[in-house]
């Protein structure tokens, strides 16, 4: 009984606490700025009492004899600027005729006193509190029911570094960082035109993450831009972790095996796609940009493709496509050879295979699945472990699995070779998301081959082709511009034709402004007469 009373007491305390918090929330919602600076600061202090680093201060100007109050979060604001750009000029505010006219006074402070152009006015506490949380400084003036919000946001951020995941030989060495403004500046540097548009949306009821939709007007399809805007605005979530999460919210079929958006950390790559008529999405706190719509071929492109000779690039691309194909197909093909269709291997090779498998106690499918799975585990371990430990894990596994397992007779040497080829070829794909997809398809084809041999493998391949044909990214078919065929884009898919031929933007990305490269300055025949 006693216990119950204590609990009830606690409950009552909690309720009263909640009630007072609710009161504060309600007053924040409806609250307007008071004429008294002290009351304003108290209100701010009460509302943000749980925030560490809240600084409030009340001062009196030297000549004008006006009380001013400021409030900011020390962890998110530029303290130097607050002292030199706001406090110093405010304290030395001169007395003038307008000293008793608050509107004129505020206007004078904005124009002549505070040393920044980025100042907003507000009389609503809800807005003011949000501004403080966002890193801005709020200035209250005595007798004025309007407060000033000065942009003093300054967060600790990484400097611009070179790309970690998309290393290129012949392209620029800068990558996006976590700061959205820096990322925007990197894009502006590359697309220095007024046609470059940014549309800012705040996503996340708790995180209020700044997300920016970027596109080049008159180039990008306006319907697409509107559609992406609509989808972004419909996102209803508490927290936006990063660009991957936002992409999943806005894509057509989140359960698709293939990635339907391209994540890149390269500003030059993003600018190139934007100039083709696609749209980009930047998210504060994420060092990646999302490109939409995306096609299958985009995952095999790198920025080096646009800085090297067409023949060399075309060769590299064909190598990448072949690598993807081999990574998916080689282990199921081996399974077909060993399990069902021995006759399709040259006799010497078949003998080698069977000699290697002599002492292996498991059926090939078990051996293959086990080794493929082990390889995925090693890859994950190498990725998640810190630097040197990652290399150590890789080497150790290579020695144990590569040598010891074969010597002990658990697996055959030929299988190790096949698995290694499959893994290495998958790494030559330029996009990390597609590497994972290739692994999933590899497992699928292994399953098909284990049941129906080479016939099952072919059926699996046809199934995958059928699957790719069903996918679309923001209404654009996944295998566009090869199917539906668009000559202007198709020459930049499996191969990369010379720029003099790639003069037009693909139709489905840019409906109106299709000319990308003019004929001026192109002296060779392909330029003048090329389509």
């Amino acid at each position: 009984m006693k216990k119950y009373t204590i609990n009830a007491k606690k409950l009552r305390n909690r309720r009263s606490k909640h009630r007072s918090e609710d009161k504060i929330q309600a007053s924040i919602k409806n609250g307007h700025v008071y004429t008294d600076v002290e009351m304003n600061l108290k209100f701010i202090s009460d509302s943000l009492c749980k925030f560490t680093g809240l600084v409030t201060g009340e001062f009196e100007t030297n000549e004008a004899r006006k009380k001013v109050g400021i409030a900011y979060l020390s962890s998110m604001s530029d303290k130097d600027f607050i002292n030199k750009g706001i406090l110093e000029p405010l304290l030395s505010l001169q007395a003038a005729d307008d000293s008793y006219n608050e509107e004129r006074l505020i206007s004078r402070i904005k124009k002549n006193c505070i040393r920044t152009a980025n100042i907003k006015e507000s009389d609503n506490f809800q807005i003011l509190i949000n501004e403080i949380i966002g890193g801005n400084t709020v200035v209250f003036i005595e007798y004025s029911t309007t407060a000033l919000c000065v942009n003093t946001r300054k967060l600790e951020k990484r400097s611009i570094e070179s790309p970690q995941n998309e290393t290129n030989l012949l392209s620029s060495k800068d990558a996006f960082s976590e700061d959205i403004e820096t990322n925007c500046s990197l894009l502006i540097r590359r697309l220095n035109t007024k046609k470059l548009n940014f549309h800012e949306i705040s996503i996340g009821k708790l995180s209020r993450t700044s997300v920016k939709l970027v596109w080049v007007s008159e180039v990008a399809n306006e319907d697409l831009v509107e559609e992406v805007k609509r989808r972004l605005e419909q996102i209803d979530t508490d927290i936006a972790h990063g660009i991957g999460q936002i992409s999943e919210f806005i894509e057509d079929r989140p359960l698709s095996l293939y990635p339907k958006y391209l994540q890149t950390e390269r500003p030059d790559f993003t600018a190139m796609f934007l100039s083709e008529g696609r749209v980009g999405i930047l998210c504060d706190g994420s060092p990646f940009a999302m490109i939409a719509p995306t096609t299958f071929w985009d995952f095999f492109k790198t920025m080096d493709d646009y800085n090297d000779t067409p023949i060399s690039v075309s060769f590299s691309r064909i190598v990448r496509y072949l690598a993807f194909f081999i990574s998916v197909i080689i282990s199921p093909l081996y399974l077909c050879f060993v399990t069902y269709n021995h006759i399709i291997v040259p006799p010497e090779l078949a003998l080698n295979f069977s000699k290697g498998r002599e002492n292996v106690p498991f059926p090939t499918i078990v051996e293959l699945l086990f080794m493929t799975f082990m390889l995925n585990i090693i890859k994950e371990a190498g990725l998640r472990m810190p630097g040197t430990f990652g290399y150590f894990a890789g080497t150790l596994s290579a020695i144990i699995i590569g040598q010891a397992a074969v010597t002990a007779g658990y697996v055959s040497a030929s299988l190790i070779i096949i698995i290694a080829i499959s893994a290495i070829t998958s790494f030559s794909i330029s996009n990390a998301t597609l590497v994972n997809t290739s692994r999933i398809f590899n497992y699928t084809l292994v399953a098909c081959s284990s049941i129906f041999g080479i016939f099952g493998l072919f059926c699996g391949i046809i199934f995958i082709v059928g699957y790719i044909c069903r996918i679309s990214s923001f209404g654009v078919p996944y295998i566009y511009p090869l199917l539906p065929y668009d000559a202007s884009g198709a020459k930049n898919t499996i191969i990369r034709a010379p720029f003099s031929i790639l003069r037009k933007r693909p139709k489905l990305f840019s409906l109106t402004n299709r000319t990308k490269i003019g004929t001026k300055g192109i002296t060779h025949k392909g330029g003048k007469n090329g389509r």
Partner: protein, 364 residues
């Protein structure tokens, strides 16, 4: 028709024309040798080219029926009873073709690659993949078919290229060593085998763009298939000899198994199997799509997917019941010799007649 639709339809026409004709003929094509004698490799392209007017007739009739099937012409013309009669016959022919092709194909796969697997399992897998490709409608199916056709053609080219070193000129000569009657019979049989293309076009031609370019693309597809099929058969005969080629019911697969270039390469039949699998799946998708789209056009677009599944089950049940290469072979040759060409000609003629009635009644 939006930009994407126009682009898609135009560029896929040649491959679709090609794929629509690659029916059981690619496996039992060698049977033509028994009908036409040594001139069969010439009768093959002659028969295919003979179908050109039918394809073009189909396209010209479809001008008034954009987005609808050609069977709509009957409704206002000679009456809906005729329409339902032709639709019923059309669907039955499609289903029988599907059954016969799957029987021939599955037995071939069983003989060469999966000796211990039951035929019904091979048919079931082929049916599931075909359903997957045809289930989402016209555009997605055509996209997949185009990609698969290109890959199958490349695969066939590989085997033909490897076959060239073992090609002997004396195996194909004398190429004209048959009578006119034999050649004519062979040509008609070839036309009958490839007539499946016209049957497919009766269902889909109204969905293709009504431009001269589209007609040109159709011609390219048909002529391309004629040349390709001709060269393929010629190389096969050149590698193994006329008598052996004609006596083997599995045609190209047996030839591919006998090709061993550079002594250390073997197992090239997988390059022939791939086009066979593609053709079987693509053709089954076409048969199912043609039938289901016409039924759903009559009774509501929403029932397309349930109908296609029911049709697939029917075909599977029939295949599981017959379960024999010989049955498939007999049905297929019977249809090619006596049914397909006459049916196409009668149907197209009736449609044309119906159109005339329509136009006259509109003028009055």
């Amino acid at each position: 028709m939006d930009v994407e639709d126009k682009m898609l339809a135009l560029q896929t026409i040649p491959t679709v024309a090609l794929a629509s004709m690659a029916g059981p003929g690619i496996i039992i094509g060698a049977y033509l040798g028994k009908i036409a004698g040594r001139s069969f490799s010439l009768a093959i392209p002659a028969g295919i080219i003979l179908l050109l007017p039918l394809f073009l007739w189909c396209l010209s009739l479809s001008k008034n029926y954009s987005g609808k099937s050609l069977f709509n012409s009957f409704e206002k013309g000679i009456g809906s009873i005729f329409m339902y009669f032709f639709i019923f016959t059309y669907i039955v022919i499609n289903l029988i073709l599907s059954v016969s092709y799957l029987l021939i194909f599955s037995e071939t796969v069983k003989t060469f690659f999966l000796e211990n697997t039951p035929i019904w399992a091979i048919i079931l897998v082929s049916m599931i993949v075909s359903l997957f490709i045809a289930a989402d409608g016209f555009h997605i199916m055509l996209r997949a078919v185009s990609l698969l056709t290109y890959s199958a053609v490349i695969s066939f080219m590989v085997i033909h290229a490897f076959g060239l070193p073992e090609f002997k000129m004396e195996n194909i000569t004398p190429i004209f060593d048959s009578t006119w009657i034999q050649f004519l019979k062979g040509t008609l049989f070839s036309a009958g085998l490839s007539c499946e293309g016209v049957i497919f076009y009766i269902a889909v031609s109204p969905m293709l763009p009504k431009t001269k370019k589209a007609a040109v693309y159709v011609v390219i597809g048909i002529v391309g298939w004629a040349i390709y099929f001709f060269i393929g058969n010629l190389i096969s005969v050149g590698v193994v000899g006329f008598e052996i080629y004609v006596s083997d019911p599995h045609g190209a697969l047996s030839v591919a198994r006998n090709i061993h270039p550079f002594a250390f390469i073997s197992g090239l039949e997988i390059f022939t199997l791939y086009p066979f699998v593609v053709a079987a799946i693509v053709k089954t998708s076409f048969y199912l799509y043609s039938s289901a789209s016409i039924i759903s056009e009559r009774f509501g677009r929403k029932i397309y997917q349930p109908v296609i599944i029911i049709l697939a089950l029917l075909v599977f049940a029939a295949c599981a019941y017959l379960e024999d290469f010989n049955n498939g072979f007999i049905i297929s040759t019977f249809l090619a010799q006596y049914v397909l060409l006459p049916f196409c000609m009668i149907t197209l003629f009736s449609m044309w007649l119906s159109d005339r009635f329509n136009m006259r009644s509109a003028e009055k």
